[in-house]
């Protein structure tokens, strides 16, 4: 297990990158602590897989260094880095049995057969393929194959880190949940450093202690699921995490008051250094729909089971609110914002509040 330092990494796939748009990865600088469970979360094409492949050594970064426990490994091969990686689509060795597939990474490294047998049996039991162990791997279903891929990643106990590149894409929903909790269990038991790439926020939030949100080749926020939810550092994090995403509307700041159109909203404090284009963000969970506050018109009510999402318009702008299943929706609806849930953004980045005025 190792601490992984990403030291000012930049990467471009094309030759001679000049402008920042040429880079798939723009300046990433971050430390993954030893034994942490991280998720790299972001939309397709944001650079998360590139970052993962740079860590595993499949891609060599254009600029910057990677350190494992302080040792520079930037130029080392994948083998020398001793990393396990699980890919999006199952990779299995068709002609081998399930058992041999799992033993393959160990045998390649010259692990004694007794030890191989012990580890493989343990992993086979864990991924629940004991009855298949002597069967050829080619006849398996997609999720069984992916379990083998996962198993090959987990079978080596001495790895520096285990990297997952959207490993559950091909798995059925109910299996997803089961595999994810097994991974979590493993993490607790063995303390692997695990980095999990996904574009699925539920997966990221339920797997990781720390979620790294990436957008357009950059890390926009690193935090616990709660931090990402309550204090999105960037409006993108607000949109991307949560269902539905955060409401963001242009606003003007006047001391401890924000103005949205003709409405005034009280803030929990005075935002510092709020210059540039100012926006107010509030999650639907913090919007109270009732008989008091600002008048809105209702466009649509979506019943999603546990609660209802009410799509309204405030001052001509879309605003989503979450109302409990049994909540009352008055004929003359009005909304109020819970001050604890209001975040102010200047040029898309969150600004802090100063001391409450």
């Amino acid at each position: 297990m190792a601490r992984i330092d990403i030291d000012h990494i930049r990467h471009a796939y094309g030759p001679n990158p000049k402008a920042s748009k040429d880079y798939a990865l723009k300046e990433v600088h971050h430390t993954f602590e030893d034994g942490g469970a991280y998720a790299l979360l972001g939309p397709s094409g944001c650079g998360k897989t590139t970052l993962l492949n740079i860590m595993s050594g499949l891609v060599e970064p254009s600029e910057g260094r990677i350190l494992f426990d302080g040792r520079d490994v930037t130029r080392l091969s994948t083998q020398e880095r001793n990393i396990a990686q699980v890919f999006q689509f199952p990779v299995i060795y068709d002609t081998m049995t399930v058992y041999d597939n799992l033993a393959f990474p160990l045998r390649n490294r010259g692990v004694p057969e007794v030890e191989v047998d012990r580890k493989v049996r343990e992993i086979i039991a864990m991924i629940d393929l004991e009855t298949w162990s002597k069967r050829k791997a080619r006849g398996l279903t997609a999720d069984q194959k992916q379990k083998i891929s996962l198993g090959r990643g987990l079978v080596r106990s001495d790895v520096n880190a285990i990297l997952f590149d959207e490993p559950l894409t091909v798995i059925d929903p109910h299996m997803k949940w089961q595999l994810r909790s097994q991974l979590k269990q493993l993490h607790r038991r063995f303390g692997y450093t695990m980095i999990y790439v996904t574009h699925d926020q539920t997966e990221a939030l339920s797997f990781a202690d720390k979620v790294v949100v990436m957008f357009d080749g950059e890390i926009v926020q690193i935090g616990t699921p709660a931090e990402l939810f309550e204090r999105p550092r960037h409006t993108f994090v607000g949109y991307f995490i949560g269902s539905p995403g955060m409401n963001v509307m242009p606003a003007a700041i006047d001391g401890t008051i924000a103005r949205v159109g003709s409405q005034t909203i009280a803030l929990p404090g005075m935002p510092v250094a709020a210059t540039g284009s100012i926006e107010l963000g509030i999650r639907p969970e913090f919007v109270r729909l009732g008989r008091e506050g600002m008048p809105v018109t209702i466009d649509k009510i979506e019943d999603v089971g546990r609660h209802r999402i009410v799509r309204t318009r405030l001052e001509g702008r879309d605003l989503a609110a979450i109302v409990p299943e049994d909540g009352d929706i008055p004929a003359d609806p009005r909304v109020a914002f819970d001050p604890a849930g209001i975040n102010i953004y200047a040029d898309s980045w969150r600004v802090d509040y100063g001391s409450a005025a």
Partner: protein
């Protein structure tokens, strides 16, 4: 489910039936006809029964040609298949090298058989041929006209030159269909170059290799034009393969009966081989 029965649909297959009848069935039946009769000219035929078949199957000449042909097929398979795999593995996967290599590989396949024969016939001549002349100038006593061994080497090298490309192209097609993730996973798993070949590349090439073996075996078992142009079956009978022998017998000596019997035996062998390969291939698929 209710199927519509309409026997007029059989008319649909009539054109194909006619085509096959005129191009294959009728000529084949003519051969069958010859194989059971004897003639002394004047278009007079006498019933001979299985006489020609017995003669063929007990003649040394037939079995020697058959033996030479099997040895030839075995040698060219033993060279072309591994060589083809080796070249395919070393061909570039991307960049400008891909079209260049593909065109270079396809070139020999585009040359007609008799032209290939003529090229090598001239190439190997000791008086004006580049190969023959240089070999002799370097002190090798090379002469495909006199020496059976040299004749064999020439015919084999010619076939390897002409047909290895086919194996290369088939293998290459199998190789490029392997997703990158497999190679990446193999790197992560610490697989050696040999293990990558054995467990990733070879299994993916399995099917195309089977086709390559089938095609090359069939082609080499029927080989006629190139050795005929280069050596004419000689020196002596050393490069007289089955089809060359057959033509000698039918056209050279005008022994229609024995030649027809030989054709049919030859045809049945090819049919049996095709069936074996077909069964192997379909079984392989079913196992998947």
């Amino acid at each position: 489910m209710n199927k519509t029965w309409n026997n007029r649909a059989w008319f649909m297959v009539l054109p194909v039936l006619l085509l096959v009848a005129f191009s294959a069935i009728i000529p084949l039946m003519t051969v069958v006809n010859y194989s059971v009769q004897d003639t002394f000219g004047n278009n007079q035929f006498f019933w001979a029964g299985a006489e020609w078949f017995e003669e063929m199957l007990t003649s040394d000449r037939f079995w020697l040609a058959m033996g030479r042909n099997l040895i030839f097929s075995f040698i060219i398979l033993a060279i072309e298949i591994p060589l083809g795999i080796f070249i395919a593995l070393n061909m570039p996967r991307k960049g400008w090298g891909v079209p260049v290599c593909l065109v270079l590989m396809a070139l020999p396949l585009l040359i007609p058989w008799n032209v290939v024969g003529t090229i090598w016939q001239v190439f190997g001549r000791v008086d004006i041929g580049l190969l023959g002349y240089v070999m002799n100038a370097l002190g090798f006593d090379y002469n495909y006209v006199n020496d059976p061994f040299d004749a064999w080497v020439t015919v084999i090298v010619m076939d390897v030159w002409h047909w290895t490309s086919l194996v290369v192209l088939l293998c290459y097609a199998g190789l490029v269909s392997i997703p990158d993730a497999y190679y990446q996973a193999a790197k992560i798993d610490g697989a050696s170059r040999w293990a990558v070949f054995r467990y990733i590349q070879l299994p993916k090439m399995n099917r195309v290799l089977l086709i390559a073996v089938l095609l090359r075996f069939m082609d080499s078992f029927m080989i006629y034009t190139e050795p005929f142009v280069v050596t004419g079956g000689g020196p002596g009978n050393s490069t007289t393969f089955l089809s060359i022998d057959l033509v000698k017998m039918a056209i050279g000596q005008f022994d229609l009966g024995p030649a027809a019997a030989m054709s049919i035996i030859y045809f049945l062998i090819i049919l049996a081989m095709s069936w074996v390969f077909y069964t192997v291939m379909t079984n392989y698929d079913a196992e998947k």
